[in-house]
Symmetry: C2
Subunit: 217 residues, 2 copies
DNA sequence: TTCGAGATCCCCCGATCGGGGAATCCCACA
DNA sequence: TGTGGGATTCCCCGATCGGGGGATCTCGAA
């Protein structure tokens, strides 16, 4: 039996969700709340497996409530509910830790599928939201061009070591200390790197290092 | 009537998908292909609305096939099918332009839902895949720390102009030319920027500009 | 009206960077 | 057993950077 909590300031919506969920054999609503603050308390008492949280609420908004819920000892999974297809919140909701993002006009069985999927550790987004997320990923920085990849591949291992530190904003002297070589040696490497990467200066080389993800490893 | 094409090297899988899809009133399989190359030709002839593409195929793999299909005149939407929950390909599939990513063991009605959602311009991922995608987004670079945000906010508009160009790797002279000011003036701004951002040098300032997304706008 | 913040320019000066060599050393490959 | 590529070090030298001032001018808020 999957225990569900409903958090929505609209009484009618709460009743509607209640009806849909309790009609399923494997789901049961164990708590209700009309605002974020009482949701936290209710969750502490009822220990729901999943919280359905409206994103727009008076007082504590849904995203803040989500973060608070997930900070509990035995946190529920959180599915965000929203009325509109609001670009805005999707990214923030995901970063807040939500495992789902559904529109209130999606059909009841979609809600039930989502509850079950989320309960088994998966996640579910409304198809329209999925489209947004996918487009955002596809539009992300084109990574590296083929040319840039080839340029990076042409670097020797040692040059990559140096580039990594250039990317972090270290001076040649600092890089030398880090890699146990003379500043003069570092300068030689930096020159070689700039030539191979067709970069005018170390900032441009650092940019490439950053985009290639060389800086954080 | 939504026209669907099936691209899979396994004959049994093709038949199975065929049966599932044709059983629906609003869907019809209009083309079949066992490899990427023939899929392109088939798509050109049959003009399907959606192509279901196996990611693993002999010859042209599913992702390459996806890119080729999407390069056609009237490209179909592409849904990737895969047997395993393979971490690997999800990101690349999305970047290749796929509108869906389903596991072959998902229930038939999930496939039908996906086909309909994708046909209406939405997207659908298997819940397990959605979980991966969501986790990846949530784990992404923490953006900026509150402190870094405050530091950026403390910059004047003109300083931001300069920082933007510093982030692109321009020299002070180039920045001056770009913003119609003397190199000396630029140097003054850069010094102020480094002080406000607590950066040791322009590379570190550029890093911050890059992370703040200041460079591409 | 005064005052301060921002934008613009200027100067000096030391530190750092980047280009162009040149010289070892080592190791793999022919 | 050469030969060459990579790693390492050093040199010089001009260009660029960065710090620390000081000087206008404008505009808006006190």
């Amino acid at each position: 039996m999957i225990k569900v909590m409903i958090v929505d300031d609209n009484d009618i919506v709460r009743r509607g969700l209640h009806t849909i969920i309790d009609a399923a054999d494997d789901l049961r609503v164990v708590a209700d709340a009309g605002d974020g603050r009482s949701a936290i308390e209710a969750a502490r008492r009822a220990r729901p497996d999943i919280a359905l949280v409206d994103i727009r609420m008076p007082g504590m908004d849904g995203l803040t409530a989500t973060r608070e819920l997930l900070a509990l000892d035995q946190p529920p999974h959180v599915i965000i509910l929203t009325t509109f297809n609001t670009d805005e919140y999707v990214d923030e909701a995901i970063r807040s830790g939500a495992a789902g993002f559904l529109l209130k006009d999606s059909p009841p069985d979609e809600l039930l599928r989502a509850l079950r999927a989320v309960h088994s550790g998966h996640a579910m987004l409304d198809p329209a939201v999925t489209r947004q997320v996918i487009d955002a990923i596809a539009d992300q920085a084109p990574r590296l061009t083929a040319q840039e990849k080839a340029q990076l591949d042409s670097l020797t291992a040692r040059e990559v070591d140096v580039l990594r530190l250039v990317g972090r904003g270290l001076s040649n002297a600092d890089i030398g200390a880090e890699l146990f070589m003379t500043e003069g040696t570092v300068k030689g490497y930096v020159s070689a790197i700039l030539a191979k990467l067709a970069a005018d200066n170390r900032v441009q080389a650092a940019r490439l290092a950053y985009r290639a993800g060389l800086d954080n490893s």
